[in-house]
Symmetry: C2
């Protein structure tokens, strides 16, 4: 940011790698977005796999696979089979055989399989159609395998913890701006940050009154929120 | 049965209508099986729909649709949309669009949708391949819709209750013979029937010791069990 403030972008998007997300945002006119500024579920899941020596079967949209190269390359070289299922949005890749292949790999694993879910969403709208979301497919695999999944992404504490590490500030000095009162504002406030809500995207009027979570400020959009933050910081710095 | 005993066949099979199940059994050599002797989840679900004025979206293998004609015909004539989702095994019919269409119909229903599940299985083996079973897809819809499903089939009490009605005897005078220690033997014993286990099909040696449920008798196969029952009845009648 030209004003010298540290920032990062925290998203639950799990069909595109950060490289493509940054391109998309820059095409929207943000211009300053580098992939390293983006925190998304896939690379966070990849770190979790590395830390726990897990070898994944990637039950994800194919464009996302590059985010897991640091674990899949050594896995392929070792010849060892998967002991973990990473569940994302398969989109057009979804078929009965793909689902059953994921299930069979886990059931045949000599180790107790680990489930890692890239999202807890129930459904979403895409090009006017309602689609079953990752949280529901995760529930299906949990039922079949008798295993509870590890959920990555907002509003999990570890996910916001990575954001704090990246901006390098304390929670009290950090502001989260988002359009989701529960995942964005609620998740950030639980970590001790301030949570600003914007009246764009998935925002609904009831988000300002009908929830346990209350936003510290509400703005028409991101630009207005940024102006406000710049005004605060020029006073307090 | 030539011996004059009443009997019925209680199955969780939910890809074939009773008509075809009877054909299949008669081709195996049983010869005496009439579709009216079979209690399977689909017609039981259909009675449940009738009783509760529910209009189903049939999320089932197409051959099963004929079992629901008594509710789908008046529904089509009325022009009213579905307010209930009947979840079975879609087999080769499973696709992303079919799943999302079922979901969208329920989310767009002006009434709170009802979920009716034809099975609670986690997975099964078919032609050497492991397949995700109906219970798992039910869990996915429960998660997406925020609704708990009504489960039809063994070992539910209402399912065994229908079997008792059909044979027309008291529970004490009725014997259930099956290869599933929990669904067959356990379900029947909970209703006050005797439960006989056969060492065929899904039987495992641990079924005779490793379960809370204990079978009243164990036989090598159905023929041996039938001989035993005939011997008992010729003495006690």
């Amino acid at each position: 940011m030209e004003a010298g403030l540290n920032f990062c972008l925290v998203t639950n998007e799990c069909t595109l790698p950060r490289r493509k997300l940054a391109e998309k945002l820059n095409n929207f006119g943000y211009k300053c977005v580098d992939p390293s500024r983006i925190i998304s579920p896939a690379p966070t899941a990849c770190s979790y796999l590395e830390l726990n020596n897990l070898r994944p079967r990637l039950h994800v949209w194919h464009e996302l696979e590059e985010e897991f190269a640091s674990v899949t390359r050594p896995m392929e070289a070792s010849g060892l089979s998967a002991n973990c299922l990473v569940i994302g949005d398969l989109m057009n890749r979804l078929s009965r055989d793909f689902i059953d292949e994921s299930l069979e790999i886990m059931l045949n694993s000599p180790e107790r399989p680990v489930l890692v879910s890239l999202g807890a969403g129930r459904y979403y709208k895409d090009s006017g159609r309602l689609r079953m979301d990752t949280g529901a497919y995760t529930a299906a695999f949990e039922y079949s395998l008798g295993v509870k999944a590890v959920n990555i992404g907002k509003p999990s504490e570890s996910f916001f913890g990575r954001a704090l590490e990246l901006v390098g500030g304390s929670a009290e000095d950090t502001i989260m701006i988002g359009d989701d009162i529960v995942s964005d504002v609620g998740g950030a406030k639980r970590m001790g940050m301030r949570g600003f809500l914007v009246r764009t995207g998935k925002y609904k009027a009831s988000d300002e009154s009908g929830h346990k979570v209350k936003a510290d400020c509400v703005f028409a959009n991101l630009a207005e929120a940024a102006d406000k933050i710049l005004a605060i910081t020029s006073v307090s710095l």
